[in-house]
């Protein structure tokens, strides 16, 4: 877990905020280098990882910051992806940035509608089960809706040409859309960081640690949880909206429960206690999936076993291990006690 002192310092001034975002800047630069050194197939996979990073961070804003466990995050991702796919196809085009905004807002709207129903009625594991049920409902609705392509999904989603009046940006050519994804996902990640580390984020954490005390201190617990849910839903839908033109196909599997487990797995692998942990997890998970892609029939089992090994050996995920090692190093040099490792169990409400 990031210590309160460091987050307060990081969020305190503009310069410090920028400084705290160095992993994001480094990540964006490394992703931007990919087309120069990797083949096209790997660049495509890198694009999927970019989307997964935002998806995982959006989930983790709920889990590690607001203390809400969502097993149905895929519904928001699907809302974004299907809006981007079906919107322009059914309504005869429209500006890409407009659809991106609509997709993001629809993700927030879906989260608010669901949150209004679920957050007031339940908490903890009951809430988690409700998210799962609601996502399954979205999945079934997609498979029954003609203009969403039913079970077959929608294909032939085109990549956009953005007309800004003075200049036109053609994202259909070469790696242009990939760079747009780096920019879009980078901005989304920065927005999530801001949401998690500003006043709002501190309120979320206060509620997670002790909702009764937070309410006593004057925080509207339900409203803050709803806001966290809306932000997370919007960011997940944004990730889905960036995903659709990249793969050029959307299918109902996007809303399937197995898709909802992905951000959970990324966070477990990378470490839910750190803001960058789920991003590290998404990258590592992508690498493991790539490495096991020819192990036909046993790829999923292998991935699962590796994940199990990581969770058992390093319960705080990769970033938890990094923090622990840093803590030890600091303890050795200053002979002061090390800070706590970011164990996901500590994050539960």
């Amino acid at each position: 877990m990031m210590t309160p002192d460091r987050t307060r310092k990081a969020a305190g001034t503009g310069g410090a905020t920028l400084l705290a975002l160095w992993p994001l800047a480094l990540g964006m630069v490394l992703f931007a280098l990919a087309p120069a050194v990797l083949n096209q197939g790997l660049v495509f996979l890198a694009g999927l990882v970019l989307v997964n990073i935002v998806f995982a961070q959006a989930w983790n804003l709920l889990f590690a910051y607001a203390g809400l466990l969502s097993f149905g995050q895929a519904m928001f991702f699907a809302v974004g992806a299907y809006t981007m796919a079906a919107g322009p196809q059914q309504l005869g085009g429209g500006p890409f940035l407009g659809w991106l905004l609509i997709a993001t807002l629809l993700g927030a709207l879906a989260a608010i509608i669901f949150g209004l129903v679920a957050l007031r009625r339940s908490g903890g594991i009951y809430f988690a089960v409700l998210t799962l049920a609601f996502a399954e409902l979205v999945h079934v609705i997609i498979t029954k809706t003609d203009w969403l392509g039913r079970n077959d999904g929608l294909v032939g989603i085109t990549r956009p040409v953005i007309d800004l009046g003075v200049i036109t940006i053609d994202l259909t050519r070469g790696d242009a859309y990939y760079y747009a994804m780096i920019l879009g996902c980078g901005l989304a990640s920065a927005a999530l960081w801001w949401a998690g580390h500003g006043v709002l984020g501190r309120s979320f954490r206060a509620i997670r640690q002790d909702p009764v005390r937070a309410a006593f201190l004057g925080l509207d617990v339900d409203r803050h949880r709803l806001i966290a849910f809306a932000i997370s839903g919007a960011a997940s839908a944004f990730a889905g909206a960036m995903f659709a033109p990249w793969t050029q196909i959307v299918t109902p599997e996007l809303a399937h429960w197995s898709q909802s487990t992905r951000p959970v797995l990324y966070a477990l692998l990378g470490g839910a206690g750190s803001f960058w942990g789920p991003a590290v997890g998404a990258i590592l998970f992508g690498a493991v999936e790539y490495a096991t892609r020819t192990m036909h029939g046993i790829a999923d089992i292998t991935t699962g076993l590796m994940l199990l090994a990581v969770v058992l050996a390093i319960p705080g995920g990769v970033m938890g291990l990094v923090m622990k090692l840093r803590g030890r190093a600091a303890a050795r040099s200053t002979a002061t006690p090390s800070p706590a490792s970011g164990r996901p169990q500590e994050q539960t409400p």
């Binding site: 999904g153 050029q248 196909i249």
Partner: protein, 429 residues
């Protein structure tokens, strides 16, 4: 021991971490694959098909068929002196996963691909292959859109079109069961299911009166969900319908579940003729002597092609590899796809670029396990025989069933005229 307990645990974890990192990094040596991979000695074909999950069984036929063809071609000296190699990827029967795998292969320079046995996967491949300079030969995708409104020059259907499959089946129905005039259907609610039903009804209304002089009555189809484990309510609905002949295009594991659940309801006692569009031996292999008496459409029935050396070799090699005496038609389609690439590469003189291969495949006539077939230049659709077989349960036999009859209808007599870019005109769709 002087080392602290904490320190010992730390070093063990370091070891764990290092081992995991080494395992993860081991395959990374293959990350930087130059685009000029195709210029290496072997010509690599990419195979994207379900190798896990519910459709794995169908995918395994595709895989064996392709591997048997490649082994034989290489044993006979390769293609223009170069051996063929196969890069396989699991589509997980999920269109998005299939396109990811296909793109990854394209990124490695593997631009000649085959597989794609499901309709949404095949439809998704067109724009993808066009953008990246690839070609794909589908080995069983049943949607009519492939060679009609969603025709794409980069996608070829190596197997029969859904139109020729249904027209072949209905010619058989009209000739063998002219008195069964009342028909119903249990249809999976997806692309393939809706397509096959629409063509079935169309063919029934066209061919049946022509052959028998009688007008068939067709009930509303019962649409069943895809991948569901419970079809009992749908079977109960079917029991209330007045049909004597039943047509179904439930597919793979869904079909086995449907048939198993339908038996106690007495659906097969009520049904005088059961016609299954595509499951071949899937249901009888699962249900043995409990399987219903069924006519099933097939891509390739080995006994119908006995004496054809390619068919005999495919059958013998398959049985030798797997011990299974009932290879199914998907194997023959993948086998044919590899031979199509061989013929096309020989035609181009070794050029494997998409444009050259597409030009070579268009109008290509080549030998396959079902005899000569031609890839129509206009719409990339193969013209091949429409085959079907009757499988009856046989208690006491080793397999619990036997094939008691089969047909093979010449492809050019049942295939629709080429109309790429235009919707298939049907009375009922």
């Amino acid at each position: 021991m002087t080392r602290s307990n904490d320190g010992y645990r730390f070093s063990r974890r370091t070891l764990l971490k290092s081992t995991a990192a080494a395992a993860a990094l081991a395959p990374l040596g293959r990350l930087w694959i130059p685009g000029a991979r195709a210029a290496d000695n072997p010509i690599t074909l990419g195979l994207v098909t379900p190798l896990s999950g519910a459709q794995e069984m169908l995918g395994s036929f595709v895989r064996h068929g392709a591997e048997i063809a490649i082994e034989k071609i290489n044993a006979d000296g390769g293609v223009n002196g170069r051996p063929l190699a196969l890069e396989m990827r699991d589509s997980k029967a999920n269109p998005a996963a299939a396109t990811v795998a296909a793109r990854e292969l394209l990124g490695q320079g593997v631009n000649l691909q085959l597989g794609a046995i499901s309709s949404p996967v095949a439809l998704a491949m067109g724009p993808l292959m066009q953008a990246a300079g690839g070609v794909v030969l589908t080995c069983g995708a049943g949607t009519e859109k492939l060679n009609h409104e969603d025709y794409n020059p980069h996608v070829f259907r190596i197997g029969d079109s859904p139109y020729s499959r249904q027209y072949g089946l209905i010619r058989m129905i009209a000739e063998r069961y002219p008195n069964i005039t009342s028909w119903g259907g249990i249809i999976p609610d997806h692309e393939y299911g809706r397509t096959t039903w629409a063509i079935f009804v169309d063919a029934m209304l066209t061919v049946f009166p022509q052959v028998t002089g009688k007008q068939p009555e067709i009930s509303r189809p019962i649409l069943i969900p895809y991948g569901s484990g419970d079809y009992k309510n749908f079977i109960a609905a079917a029991m209330r319908q007045p049909f004597e002949g039943l047509y179904t295009s439930a597919y793979g594991g869904d079909a086995v579940t449907l048939y198993q659940q339908a038996r106690p309801f007495g659906l097969f006692d009520k049904t005088k003729v059961l016609v299954d569009s595509a499951n071949e031996f899937l249901v009888p292999l699962a249900m043995k002597d409990q399987s219903p008496d069924t006519w099933t459409g097939t891509h390739w029935y080995f006994k119908a092609n006995q004496g054809n050396p390619m068919s005999d070799h495919l059958y013998n090699a398959y049985v030798e590899r797997t011990g299974n005496h009932y290879p199914m038609g998907w194997a023959a389609e993948a086998h044919a796809a590899v031979y199509a690439y061989k013929a096309a590469i020989e035609k181009t003189g070794g050029d494997t670029k998409a444009a050259a291969i597409i030009a070579a495949l268009k109008g290509l006539t080549f030998d396959t396990a079902t005899g000569k077939r031609t890839l129509r230049a206009e719409d990339n659709q193969a013209v091949k025989n429409a085959e079907a077989m009757r499988i009856q349960p046989k208690a006491g036999s080793a397999d619990g069933f036997e094939v008691t009859d089969y047909i093979s209808v010449p492809g050019d007599s049942v295939v629709e005229p080429p109309r790429p870019g235009e919707k298939l005109e049907l009375k009922t769709l």
